[in-house]
């Protein structure tokens, strides 16, 4: 398959998808359950963006950061604050005399440029949200990026919590509306908007990952010392990765604000960060397409497919076990299974490619046909391993007994050390 065909295939798929989202949102009537598919695509694409931005840090640069929710929070607020129509300020900021910012970027530009200004007025605050978060990410990065893996995780998590408290502070109320919701800001009309913005952002991230910088990031992830020896400025590249990741987290925060139509600081907790992290893990740490796939699967499963588990009927099965909350238990167990048994996630660190897909598709019947055979083989292999293990245990026991006997009879001057067949390497990081 040559390059042109691949590009053409990808373009066709993307156009078809976009068209589906655009016309789907326009034509599917609200009462239809297919409408939920559109909602899932909307929310999924927003989560896909933030997951890719987190993957840039965790998967490509090897920096374990847990501050994503905090960054999204700032992005969401920045967007919302600058786009609330002037007329709505009194009702939104009802406890703060209408707030201090009495204008909206959207309205100003719309007044000057009409419909073009309307969209420009939406894009500028989104960009602004990204920039503000990038700046804050830059400032936070200076101190925290000196820390190592888990300390970095806990420090970024701490910053996210501090940010959340800050945005709930009543003294800042005239700008942030204190702990109360921000509403009535301008949002998009069609689901194509978040898909498009997220898509472009992810494309930019992909370009970056495949550039020299991306290779430097991966070098840092694989071995910091070696990377430094090769002339990669560690701090500068870490900081760059952190800032870029923050920028896109901010943009996805702005999109999330638009999706939700109201925004408050309360839901941006560590739980939200964990969910994003789990999306990254499901998709595969170090795979952009994996994160995207993970985000859509996660959103669809949690918001749509598994909802039936809460209401007592799911795919025609009904059970007393299914009461509110069951969906989340099933979901958490699924995630645990992935973490423990498929820790590489759906894509591992590979990316989607047409060749891979076609090869997979061709092999599919074969895979399904040989499935029982391979299962049998796997089972046999497992049994062998088990037998070997128990045999080894028996040998060890016998050996111990023998050495004890020898000791008793004074034969052995020393007992041999039980050489560890399970040497644990601690400081092996990031690989």
């Amino acid at each position: 398959m040559n390059k042109n065909t691949k590009v053409a295939l990808s373009t066709i798929c993307i156009i078809l998808f976009m068209a589906f989202v655009y016309f789907g949102d326009m034509w599917i009537r609200p009462g239809s359950s297919m409408k939920m598919l559109i909602t899932v695509i909307e929310k999924g694409s927003i989560y896909a963006l933030v997951a890719v931005s987190m993957n840039l840090l965790n998967g490509f640069t090897g920096l374990f950061s847990l501050g994503q929710a905090g960054f999204m929070l700032i992005g969401a607020y920045t967007y919302a604050i600058f786009t609330i129509p002037a007329a709505s300020h009194d009702s939104v900021y009802q406890y703060f005399n209408g707030g201090v910012i009495k204008w909206s970027i959207v309205e100003i530009l719309e007044g000057k440029l009409g419909i073009v200004g309307h969209y420009l007025g939406m894009f500028i605050p989104i960009l602004l949200a990204g920039l503000v978060v990038a700046l804050i990410g830059f400032l936070i990065g200076i101190p925290v990026l000196r820390l190592k893996s888990d300390y970095l995780a806990i420090a970024t998590l701490g910053f996210a919590e501090i940010i959340r408290a800050f945005f709930q502070w009543n003294t800042l109320g005239p700008v942030t509306n204190g702990s109360n919701v921000l509403r009535k800001y301008t949002t998009y009309k069609n689901a194509i908007f978040p898909v498009l913005v997220a898509g472009i952002s992810i494309a930019i991230l992909l370009l970056l990952i495949n550039s020299t910088y991306g290779r430097a990031f991966r070098a840092i992830r694989d071995d910091e010392i070696a990377a430094e020896a090769m002339g990669v400025n560690l701090f500068r590249h870490k900081e760059m990765s952190f800032v870029i990741s923050s920028f896109f987290a901010g943009i996805s925060g702005a999109l999330l604000a638009m999706f939700q139509t109201t925004i408050s600081a309360t839901p941006f907790t560590t739980v939200m960060t964990y969910e994003i992290l789990l999306i990254v893990v499901i998709g595969g740490i170090g795979s952009v397409t994996g994160s995207i796939l993970g985000a859509f699967l996660f959103t669809a499963a949690s918001e749509w497919w598994l909802r039936g588990l809460d209401s007592g009927r799911w795919l025609g099965i009904s059970s007393d076990l299914m009461r509110p909350g069951f969906r989340k238990v099933v979901f958490a167990i699924l995630i645990m299974l992935i973490v423990l048994f498929y820790s590489r996630g759906i894509m591992g660190d590979k990316e989607f490619s047409w060749e891979g897909f076609i090869a997979w598709w061709k092999r599919l019947p074969e895979t399904i046909r040989t499935w029982p055979k391979r299962r049998k083989a796997a089972r046999a292999a497992k049994k062998d391993a088990r037998d070997a293990k128990s045999a080894a245990r028996a040998r060890e026991k016998q050996g111990k007994q023998e050495s004890a006997d020898k000791k008793l009879s004074g034969e052995a001057l020393f007992t041999p050390l039980p050489m560890a067949d399970h040497v644990i390497v601690f400081d092996k990081e990031g690989k």
């Binding site: 965790n58 374990f64 101190p143 925290v144 820390l147 893996s149 888990d150 300390y151 995780a153 806990i154 420090a155 998590l157 701490g158 910053f159 919590e161 501090i162 959340r164 408290a165 800050f166 709930q168 502070w169 009543n170 702990s179 560590t270 739980v271 964990y274 992290l277 789990l278 893990v281 740490i285 009461r323 509110p324 909350g325 069951f326 989340k328 238990v329 979901f331 958490a332 167990i333 995630i335 645990m336 973490v339 423990l340 820790s343 050390l417 039980p418 050489m419 560890a420 399970h422 040497v423 644990i424 390497v425 601690f426 092996k428 990081e429 990031g430 690989k431």
Partner: protein, 294 residues
């Protein structure tokens, strides 16, 4: 005197909650000391011991429930270690941390399912909840018992670490994992014992904590858990006395901040403290002193 009179109730509440954080923090600091793993699920083990108590008390006498709760916490903790951490021990550190986060997510969601998302009221242990008045403060008996009990337990633990064979093994493993395994120390046993101690103390902590703040919901382990972890970092991770000191500092500061009317920042303060410590002295207060390192 007048100042002390006003602030005394807050300091007292702070000491009590500090003692409760300390009992959780020990579990964090010991596990981190040995496995280099932030056991994110520890706060949820704490929450679950509280929850199990609620259900046990309805069918069993109190003393038996207390014992069973501690056993349950130990069982839960060691099971988590066996199922979720041990298979990943040779995996990169990020995987095992993600596994910890996954376990925490599972425990919370399972609690959500069991309780139906409602807050459960902790059973009244009458002598712990008796009202007492000291000076300007009126409080519960548990406030006075907590610091005493905490200090006694910590003393016993330090003795165990210093003077028993298993304690010596723990110190060795935390100093150098590979070498100590080459020296014939049964690593798995040491790790299990660590989880047993950590979870047992967390269960005791849960009894004290929930006797004071009687509502349990699926999320009530998360915040105390994080704060206890910060306490462990503050004191120097791996150091038991450090973690205890850190816990008391956090408990008292938090209550003083609330007393001063900065309630919005009472939780955020913990994290500010964390970041300051990580910037200024990343090893914590007692981090470099290897003597007490577990």
């Amino acid at each position: 005197m007048g100042l002390l009179h006003t602030w005394f109730p807050y300091i007292l509440a702070g000491i009590a909650v500090g003692g409760q954080y300390a009992l959780i923090a020990i579990g964090y600091t010991m596990v981190y000391g040995i496995l280099r793993l932030i056991n994110f699920a520890h706060g949820d083990v704490f929450m679950w011991s509280g929850l199990i108590m609620v259900y046990l008390v309805t069918v069993l006498p109190l003393w038996l429930s207390v014992i069973l709760v501690i056993l349950f916490a130990i069982l839960l903790g060691t099971t988590i270690e066996r199922v979720a951490y041990r298979p990943l021990r040779t995996a990169p550190r990020m995987s095992i941390m993600i596994s910890a986060i996954g376990v925490s997510y599972l425990l919370q969601n399972f609690a959500l399912y069991i309780t139906g998302g409602l807050t459960k009221t902790y059973p009244a242990i009458s002598w712990l909840q008796k009202t007492v008045t000291i000076g300007s403060a009126t409080t519960k008996m548990v406030t006075l018992i907590t610091p005493v009990l905490t200090l006694v337990l910590v003393f016993l633990l330090v003795m165990l670490i210093k003077h028993t064979k298993i304690g010596m093994a723990m110190r060795a493993v935390s100093r150098d994992f590979e070498t100590s395994s080459l020296m014939g120390i049964d690593i798995n046993r040491v790790i299990t014992v660590t989880f047993v101690i950590g979870c047992g103390l967390a269960a005791v902590g849960s009894i004290l904590y929930f006797s004071n703040y009687t509502g349990i919901n699926p999320m009530s382990g998360a915040m105390p858990g994080l704060k206890a972890f910060v306490a462990a970092v503050f004191g120097g991770i791996g150091s038991v006395p450090g973690a205890v000191l850190g816990a008391f500092v956090i408990g008292i500061c938090e209550n003083l901040i609330k007393g001063a009317g900065w309630t919005t920042f009472s939780d955020a303060f913990t994290f500010v403290l964390l970041i300051v410590i990580l910037m200024v002295k990343p090893t914590g207060l007692f981090g470099e002193k290897n003597l007490d390192k577990v």
